[in-house]
Symmetry: C2
Subunit: 197 residues, 2 copies
């Protein structure tokens, strides 16, 4: 997705070989026009999959998830990382380990909002080791829902999450794929291929 | 705002005299069409205020805040309740006490995104005691920015946050005002007035 790639090139910062900072438009400040375009792109890539719900995880997934849901004409649900006072229903839970933060959190979704036979589009801002996506898949499985696809804003394709999910048979659509990060340098997957050639 | 009021009447649940559960469309599951209408309503109410930034707080403020920012054509920033790994800049911070959770959190905003003379529209999902809004105002003040207005999706007008903010001279626009909650019963401000009459 060209607009996203340009934004990453212009504003992204490689803080280390693992960490890409994009908080000027995605993780802290959000560019609402870009978010809307991202939502349209996801809707287009998953057209015909008869999506009934979009599922994401707080906080940075909410923007892209909400815009995708708006385009698809379905509700969006964000999984909570911390328990909510008003989340008193039966809960669907999964453990998600964050390698960067080195902590494991239970994510929770009310069983009222993901049902048997729902066709769920999972959306997240980043895909690295795939832990968050696997947690959201687990939530869907516990509900008896069908994972219709996984939409990722930025995939760090040098980590194994994307490979693992695709080998699991899921349609994974990443709007930007980063092949390599060095401090101060961002190489997109296509560029990495060129460097190899 | 009629669509919001109808949604609250239909789907809101008064869990106690203080807690209104609206997680079918705002706090957990989100209705993207309603969020878009809420964004349009905020943009219309603050038209002419020359807003340059929308500021909200994770997680439930992100939906309404992003949609307001889209309509206004400005970026949206969400304050973080937990420190982020990539939030390594100079930080603007404020302490926010939650009465319902009985905990105090530091909220943080990167000083890169709220600047001197920015005209900031603060958006939040709920207004009760006003602690979150006051924290966001403090962040703006520390940045030297101007608080151009405060947009609230649901105000619990029987708590004193709205009064405090309006007495402070701020334009507070609440799209729904709840005058009283009893378990299983939601009275809007207008209805409470009628009950009094």
């Amino acid at each position: 997705m060209e607009a996203l790639r340009k934004k990453i090139e212009k504003e992204g910062q490689a803080l280390s070989e693992n960490i890409l900072k994009v908080d000027s438009f995605l993780n802290h400040q959000m560019d609402p026009v870009l978010m809307k375009e991202i939502g349209q792109e996801f809707a287009s890539r998953f057209q015909g999959r008869e999506i009934t719900k979009v599922l994401t995880i707080e906080s940075s997934g909410i923007g892209p998830g909400l815009m995708a849901a708006l385009e698809l004409g379905v509700p969006m649900i964000f999984a909570r990382k911390r328990k909510s006072l008003t989340l008193t229903d039966d809960l669907l839970t999964a453990s998600v380990h964050s390698y960067t933060k080195n902590e494991t959190n239970d994510i929770t979704v009310s069983s009222k909002y993901i049902k048997k036979n729902d066709k769920v589009l999972i959306i997240d801002d980043f895909l690295a080791n795939g832990q968050a996506a696997l947690g959201l898949i687990e939530v869907c499985e516990k509900a008896g829902a069908i994972v219709a696809g996984i939409g990722i804003v930025i995939e760090k394709s040098f980590q194994d999450g994307g490979k693992r999910l695709r080998e699991g048979g899921y349609q994974v659509e990443s709007l930007a794929r980063i092949g390599q990060l060095n401090v101060g340098e961002i190489l997109f997957e296509s560029e990495k291929e060129m460097h190899k050639a």
